[in-house]
Symmetry: C2
Subunit: 731 residues, 2 copies
Amino acid sequence: MKKIQQFLILLLFAASLSAQQAPLFDATLAQARAEVDAEIAAGIAVPVPKDMAGGYTHERHKQNFFILQKAGALYQLTKEEKYADYVRDMFMAYAELFPTLGLHPTNQSYATGKIFWQCLNDANWLVYSSQAYEAVYDRLKTEERNKLETDLFRPFARWLSIENPQFFNRIHNHSTWGNAAVGMIALVMKDEELLQWALYGLPNDNIAADSVDNDGGYIKIGGKRQAGFLAQLDHAFSPDGYFTEGPYYLRYAIYPYLLFAQSLQKHRPDLGIFAYRDSVLQKAVFGLLQQSDPRGVFFPINDAQKGMSWMARELILAVDMMYVDGGYDPRLLSIAEMQGTVTLDEAGKRVATDIALKKAVPFQHRSIEFRDGADGKSGGIGILRAKATEEEHCLLMKYAAHGMGHGHFDRLSFSYYDESGEILQDYASARWVNIDQKGGGRYLPENHSWAKQSIAHNTLVLDQTSQFKGKVKAAEAQQAERYYFQGKGDAVQIVSAKEAHAYPGVLLHRTLVMLKDESFANPLIIDLFRVETEEAHQYDLPFWFQGHLLSSNFSYHTATTQLNTLGTDHGYQHIWKEAEAKAEGNQAQISWFGQGKFFSLSTYTQSDDSLIFARLGANDPQFNLRHDPVFILRRNTTGSSLFVSILETHGDYNPVEEIPRQPFGSIQEIKPIYHDKAYSIIQFSTFAGESWTLMFSNSDKNENSSHEVRVGKVQFRWKGIYQLSKTKTID
Amino acid sequence: MKKIQQFLILLLFAASLSAQQAPLFDATLAQARAEVDAEIAAGIAVPVPKDMAGGYTHERHKQNFFILQKAGALYQLTKEEKYADYVRDMFMAYAELFPTLGLHPTNQSYATGKIFWQCLNDANWLVYSSQAYEAVYDRLKTEERNKLETDLFRPFARWLSIENPQFFNRIHNHSTWGNAAVGMIALVMKDEELLQWALYGLPNDNIAADSVDNDGGYIKIGGKRQAGFLAQLDHAFSPDGYFTEGPYYLRYAIYPYLLFAQSLQKHRPDLGIFAYRDSVLQKAVFGLLQQSDPRGVFFPINDAQKGMSWMARELILAVDMMYVDGGYDPRLLSIAEMQGTVTLDEAGKRVATDIALKKAVPFQHRSIEFRDGADGKSGGIGILRAKATEEEHCLLMKYAAHGMGHGHFDRLSFSYYDESGEILQDYASARWVNIDQKGGGRYLPENHSWAKQSIAHNTLVLDQTSQFKGKVKAAEAQQAERYYFQGKGDAVQIVSAKEAHAYPGVLLHRTLVMLKDESFANPLIIDLFRVETEEAHQYDLPFWFQGHLLSSNFSYHTATTQLNTLGTDHGYQHIWKEAEAKAEGNQAQISWFGQGKFFSLSTYTQSDDSLIFARLGANDPQFNLRHDPVFILRRNTTGSSLFVSILETHGDYNPVEEIPRQPFGSIQEIKPIYHDKAYSIIQFSTFAGESWTLMFSNSDKNENSSHEVRVGKVQFRWKGIYQLSKTKTID
């Protein structure tokens, strides 16, 4: 009896499967219905603007534009009049309010808004509202449209453009929102003047050359006179689709790009917006997906908040729209599946349908380099990835342009990740976005004094001073040099870049190698940080390891009853010095435990090098900072120097089984053999008796060049940029 | 075509479902086969003992007994001779080795072993090996049995008993392993003398009354002369099945209890071991399952390592065995499902079969109190639980006996949990079990200097001195008093206990209320900590909150460039003092963010109270401690005092949406109205205009007593132990 029942249930299931075409879309629709119906029942609230972000009027108006957009979409999909009526009534309330508004009473922004404290949020409102207006346009009476356009939409669009050129006429993500808002409402209203402004900028803006915004970024970029949406597309992205502020801000910025592009595609297909600049929008979306760790969490470079990921609402739009407008790439479906929701439109319906038809193909992270700068000549970022037995490891090296107002002084820094998250971290920003208790959710003072400084990153710091002395203008004026990138997924992958301007008279050259070899359970990271100079400097090479220190092969002196700071400026004032050691011999090794795994870092030391354990948290009067640990190799020397380090991931442990697996690292010795302007040669050996030699050409990138270096009685020869060889000593 | 294919696949699936009876068991069997086959292929290794835990010989012999047990089980289940042969050959190798062994060369234990560094591990070996020997017994030739029993098993059993009475003849988890090992091999060998020792102890042990073990625990417990397995059952558990060392150690200790009981049930059913002492073993197992947070992670009280849970291998045995031997309780099946594996025997097969038959019923955590002490008179622990809209909240208050060598000085402390883990933490032990890099995996010096001290726990500390001055003997001699427990799952649940001996001349009385009410999104914790004394003392009430401090309603002075310790002894030397404030008004409130959620703590302050933010990590020369934050209310006063605090969980935030939900707490004011030996009365109000009054009888537990207290012009009247009433002010 029971078996017959089970059989019938399975028959039913089989039948329902063929009927149910797009369950993900149905779920999204049902959720939107529930949400909008509840708002309709609660009634319309359009309060007089008063509060900062987090306060009532701010959050209410924000909620209003989200609901307007959804109600419009619901009307389009269901043709139920209550949704169109709701949109109309809400707009009418805004049409009464808007003409009465002066500047928002907070008046704290370089471009204060009317409904919100800044024009940026006002532009958000108009972008969403334009979609809602378009959705119900055909249902409105002519006099209703006239009222709305005369009292609300046109003055709103002029407010965001001609009346706030410092906001609108600029190459910046704020302006993109402005351009999109004005352009999208222009397309619905068929207002050609506004559309021209949105696409090509204002004819004349009268902005002073040295104006700055609230984040300290310059309004005008030297030599750039263009503005408007197409100029944003020209200037905001590199030819590879990289966004100079990094993925956290691209995730935010991509939204108006995509929405405006969608409107343009519909109303002005002649512009061919998706093909514009060699399909730069598509490149940007795929690039954004790649600029993430194995979990799909974006690399938190520059002023990012950690944890933003593929799950963000902007990415739901990006994935669904690019699926339909970008040629039905089935890898996007696997990300849509992970997101668990789709957009409330035809694109979302198509994505949901194709997922139900099992068309999804896994999205693969890969090693990839992105050039920065509109012309691709402002450095870049390099991402190396390798799969271990079970885990994906991933390294990001940064040698991009400064990233404008949101940039950090962290050229040649790197961060390292696996499936659990961070192994070597980038601190990201000192900001709790939208959390009122932490400075109203805005950037905290420690963002400048700590998060942007060089010592907050895994890069070499000279003389306890940040790169470019921490000056944005100096950093923006100079670019790092992409030297070499080899990310074909082979056993040996390399990223190498140079920075000649961060410190006067000093060339910094870092080469990171990701080695996958049967001798190691997981990929090995080899770090060559070379300094070319004739002067004397103090060098600090920090490793912001994520985890709990387990052991070291050197003895150290710990501060047990009193802690002092590591310095007084450039971020050093925020670091408590916990322990210090003088280097013993030439090998310093530490191991730590984090996220259930063991890690070891080995680094070559010279006599007089010192080793420092420290922790973030000093000079933090409001407890704004995390108390994270760092290990620093410190060297005082004159002339050129080479820092060689190897990072291993090995073994694991969990508190249920309590059995450590491979708790010890395998590196026995690291030896720098040779280094100068032309070549770096190093060797390292393992406890298993294997010996490795890495030869690298520092200046000649020709793959066909032959190189020869004699060190004592040994002749090193290789062809091309590098060679990595392994020898096994037989006992 | 595609639909027909899908239909056929479903038909196939339906057919296979009826054939596959116990997939979980099949998977366990297949895994054991793969593991043992690999070991058989690798060959037998029985090295001469040399290493500590973590070293090669230790880990090899440990692996050997695990594989012996599995090979024996595989032989029983499959009757494949290769498994029996492997067990025989391995035992023969041990029979050659064992007679050549003296004391293990490490000689660092109060009971040094032969194969391992301590007898405890030797006993582990014999428990597992007894099962393997029994499994292959019938297949061995008589001369093989004679050889094994003469050269290996009998001398091994005598080594663990008559030759090490300080290990064997004691009420302690070590001895349980000894008793089980000797008893289990005795049952297979039919050696009545050894069985009698195992069940009833050695006739005479000659152990000095003041001998201590490596953890500082006393070998002899005052007045107790009994030993052996039945005495362990009498003394190790309270009548409720509570184990005085706590769940982490019970998890470990339960294993030999269950295995020996299983053998006794088979060979000596006349003893009725599972019914012994009102089914105390069953109570212990169900109690252990309850002594966990909402995720099934054991409360880390006393010397526990955090993270041990229902997933532990000992619990897999406990759940499967208790399912079969304890009457097929279907709630156990849901835990077995979560464990994802079963035991390799008939019990495991039955569990897997019944899971496949969908008999599992969810296991429900509930509010429950456990008495401690063999007679149930040594205090206990109280667990309160309530379900919020989405989450289960759970509070553990500890007023148990000292917990012998593994006890902490933490009477009246509490810890608090939700589905994500810890909200207020218990530090647990300073130990990295089996991690060689941290003191060989043994207890670290900071376990004594920090983890056991009172300030490491959420309990009141007087005069910067631990309870009982940190003396084990004094703590063991005195018991806390269970005062009141009401855990029926109602809106108001209460645990209340008194401690009269921790500090001379001072009565400590803590009452914790878990309130579930529609006014609050989640359960509210009300904490009344009352001190009865005539003397002057300094009081520190610490809250070890897990998360990042967001805000406070008072200004504080932060140490920005230099940190010093909070004290010099009793654990205070391990705490860095980060900030201090003088109480402003009578309300101190802080909020923090942890695990994606917001928390607020409100506490009533008197003038001259001070408020301290501090962090663990001082005097930690080897980086053994975690750097966790604490908030301390400090009061200097003469005579009795009442500390009133309220802890709220409210709202959440995630970095993908970046929208805080309910980031602020709702408590506006707390007022202690009255307190003396007989009564405590407090009031508190919310920003929503609600006012609450809690009246509590401190001495009279009669549910029928009427109480009356006049304070000024207000008369408070109630019946029974407590009353909690709510009034709403209408604007």
